[in-house]
Amino acid sequence: MLHKLTPYLLVAPLIIFITVFTYIPVITSVNLSLRHWDFLSPTMPFVGFENYRLLLNSRDFWNSLQVTAIFALISVPIRLALALAVASYLVRETLPSRLLRGALFLPSVTSTVSIAVVFSWVFATDYGMVNAALTSLGLGKVQWLQDPQLALWVLITVNTWKQLGYDIVIYIAGLQAVPQELYDAASVDGGRRFHVFRRVTVPLVMPTTYFLLVISVIEAFQVFTIVNIMTHGGPAGATDMLVNLLYRVGFTLFDIGRGSALAVLLFIFLIVLALIKSFVIGRRVHYEA
């Protein structure tokens, strides 16, 4: 009797936590997204799809979607290209390679808040690191974070700097799985270095590339900390990414209905991406014999 109950008792804590803090919240969000509520009123009247309608008609939402999409479209390809190039150099087990791997990987375990603060200094108009370098070259100061044309690029740079090491580590793992014979065969055939890279390395790490592509897009749609610390979504909404808008609507404007509607839309979008991811991983190609 007791033996039969054992597995249930063992999984119970995990299942209870998952239910209370993951599954019930999904249902709650859908429910709240159909209501009008401000955290305080005793009633939360049902308003149907009104919140969604308001959201889809608001300039803030479309701006935020556009900013997020630009962020993803620019940062993800840069990250993957850089990471693959660096990884195919660092895959060798030599001392400099190990040292560089460590240096590049460090930012991905460092707190995003600290990184955002450090880069607020790097790109500060007065006494910032970049502008100090520009001034010493005799060039003028640039208002990196106050210029709507530039602020998003700064965030893309910071995010790339932080995530690059992670991408590299994953690529190195992918590259190590490529059988050495394939490289040997390619070089026996007189393949030049770049040629081998393009014809052998790139196709063979394609599964890793798909994987990184999807998770980086998922990540890009959830960027919040660097925005919250460095720009607050400004100047003039230029960096107002989706989660920043969600935080603003929910926790500073206290419009729970609209905030929840936004969360549900984000959820649907990310679930679709996650399904693509598990589909891709389920079909990962293996080249080993």
Partner: protein, 269 residues
Amino acid sequence: MKLENPIVTSLALFAGLIFLSPVLYSIWMSFETAQSYYTGQYEFTLDNYVRAVAEYNFARYLMNSIIVSGLVTLLGITVATMAAFAFARYQFRGGNLLFGATVATLMIPSHISLIPNYLTLAKAGLLDTYAGLILPAISNGFAAFFLRQYIKGIPKALDEAAYMDGATPLQVLWRVIVPIARPAIFSMGLYIFITEWNNYIWPLVAVGREDLYTLQIGLARLYRINPGEGLVDWPLVMAACTLSMLPVLLGFLLVERHLVRGITLGAVK
């Protein structure tokens, strides 16, 4: 590990230094006075750390971060290991369904839970408490999934021998499985600890009381209040920044291999 020629080694080192220069310089800067930073004459001081701790309460935030991340790791890894053991070793009605529900949490973005979790904890009177910071972070579907795969790889004969000797399931878990799975548990624990240490958005919404701030919230607040008084006191801000990075940086130097392993194991199976 092969040694390469010293020129390549120094070039690689140099590239790494350039890459890390913002962080390295910010640590260097944290040891000078604001005055010396703005005039450009370096002057060593520990004053920024003294001020961060004494005036801005960073000792308290450090302790809060250790308590919260420590408990999340301990409870999270315990809950995940127990469930992983059940999923790996028992055939039970509903087992596959529950395992599926566990794995499916990996796809659910945490931001959808933000408002509902805030409401749940408000209703339970747990906002502005350690429990409010800790509870939503305990369940970790990924850790449970990963440890299950690992435990499945441990020969079942070992459990059976222990059962023959009259061990209970919990004894088998604790005496047989946990010692063998220790490297995996350690890597996962590190991963959970670092993720929680760096967590920002949840403490931001769940905590309003200053004495419950974690380092990340304390640092964000210190940076934000600072510009009000004219120029930012960058050396002070960087001292606070260094304090909030320090434990992870030190840990990184000690257990880099485990960390990389934890992260690659997650992505590449």
